[in-house]
């Protein structure tokens, strides 16, 4: 499996800096679990942050701080290093961590809710009020309803694949879209497409009928 569509520097640097909110971070971390290349880039960014830390010297006398540290270190119980043995590799696991813990299991455990036209979704709860996070299941060969959205959107493919224009997105691939883009992703024939979608604001469907039912379906 080779991931072809990667994270932008913009998302990755915010994740590296710890400023990216929980909803976006869930998609970023789940992509990182599937993409060694982006992990390498993250590693380089953390290295850059480490180099900046080296230069952030404010020379101060540390005698007092060190004395305070030693006083509290006396009370510290050193954490046991738990080196977990890798769990037995089961090829059947589709959802990577941290996503799997958020939805409470792998594909077989999921309780999908119908969206109409054969599509299903699961809303994923986070503490992050500025994003909406969901798993989507689009039936093979069917389009995701045409939509534009306010702000950014991240879509991570977990099973099956979809086309957006000329581009093919398969497992591990992540698509970034911004508010101006009207895009029409379409699931590839042969297999339902399951993806994690994070959006900034409720989706604005451009088809009037979908827009009409949007408040009811909470999409």
């Amino acid at each position: 499996m080779n991931v072809k569509h990667h994270l932008s520097d913009e998302f990755l640097i915010e994740y590296a800096a710890g400023s990216l909110s929980e909803g976006w971070s869930l998609a970023v971390a789940s992509h990182l679990a599937l993409c060694p290349e982006c992990r390498q880039r993250l590693h380089a960014m953390e290295g850059a942050a480490g180099a900046l830390l080296d230069k952030a010297d404010e020379s101060a006398n540390e005698d007092e701080a060190w004395a305070r540290f030693k006083a509290r270190a006396a009370d510290i119980k050193v954490e046991e290093v738990k080196l977990e043995a890798p769990k037995a590799t089961k090829q059947t696991v589709v959802l990577p961590e941290p996503l799997r813990s958020y939805v409470g299991g792998d594909l077989a455990d999921l309780k999908w809710r119908a969206l109409g036209r054969g599509a299903y979704q699961i809303l994923i709860e986070t503490k992050d009020k500025n994003t909406q996070v969901r798993l989507l299941r689009i039936p093979a060969g069917k389009p995701v309803p045409e939509h534009t959205h306010e702000g950014r959107e991240l879509t991570l493919v977990l099973a099956g694949s979809f086309h957006d224009g000329e581009e093919l997105f398969a497992r591990g691939d992540i698509e970034e879209a911004d508010g101006d883009l009207l895009h029409t992703p379409k699931a590839t024939e042969g297999e339902d497409c399951i993806c994690l979608a994070v959006t900034e604001a409720p989706l604005k469907f451009s088809s009037w009928i979908v827009r009409l039912v949007q408040p009811i379906l909470k999409i």
């Binding site: 710890g18 971070s25 971390a29 080296d54 290093v81």
Partner: protein, 194 residues
């Protein structure tokens, strides 16, 4: 083995190798003497990292102490093969700060069966990591101040791209391109090792 394009001074590389050594000793022997040198080097740096966001000396001091406590506790988990103590300590400081603000940052799990491992052999990786830390420091030294400034704001102040643009009075696209140029430079310097 240190190539002359790296730009990092040899003294700096030596100091870094010394930090790796000291941290390994702390991890193995819980030696307070070895930790003192680490503490005296990183404490002022972490304090200023924390102060960038808290804007409060006392809170920054407390978060610095918490970070150094975590470094002391986790020293045994540091993998010397990773070679980059500053990057490791940065991630600990970042996580202490995230916890302090009661935010969540979901992370991947390398032991997860769905995790896709790197296909680089561990032996190669060990060599690469050490060389990489040197190359990265060298490349950072060649970045123009305006790019370093944007990186500092992103990592230290946790400023978003749009906040940085507003504070500097430049268009958003300028901030994005400075970040892109900085990482292109860092990445190409890393690729140059081969």
């Amino acid at each position: 083995m240190n190539n002359k394009n790296s730009g990092g001074s040899e003294a700096e590389d030596l100091a870094k190798a010394e930090m790796v050594r000291l941290l390994s000793i702390v991890g193995r022997d819980r030696s307070a003497d070895a930790f003192e040198a680490i503490f005296r080097f990183y404490a002022p740096r972490i304090r200023s990292f924390m102060a960038a966001k808290t804007k409060d000396r006392q809170a920054a001091e407390e978060l610095m102490q918490e970070t150094m406590t975590a470094v002391w506790n986790k020293a045994g988990q540091f993998d010397p093969a990773r070679g980059n103590v500053s990057a490791w300590i940065y991630t600990i400081a970042r996580n202490v700060r995230i916890d302090a603000y009661r935010r969540k940052r979901p992370e991947f799990d390398m032991n997860d069966p769905a995790f896709v491992a790197d296909d680089v052999a561990p032996a190669d990786q060990e060599f690469q990591q050490i060389q990489e830390a040197q190359l990265l420091r060298g490349a950072m030294a060649t970045l123009p101040e305006e790019q370093l400034d944007v990186l500092r704001r992103a990592f230290f102040d946790e400023a978003s791209h749009s906040t940085i643009a507003r504070d500097l009075g430049v268009p958003l696209g300028t901030v994005k391109s400075r970040i892109r140029l900085a990482f292109e430079k860092l990445r190409s310097s890393l690729e140059g090792r081969l």
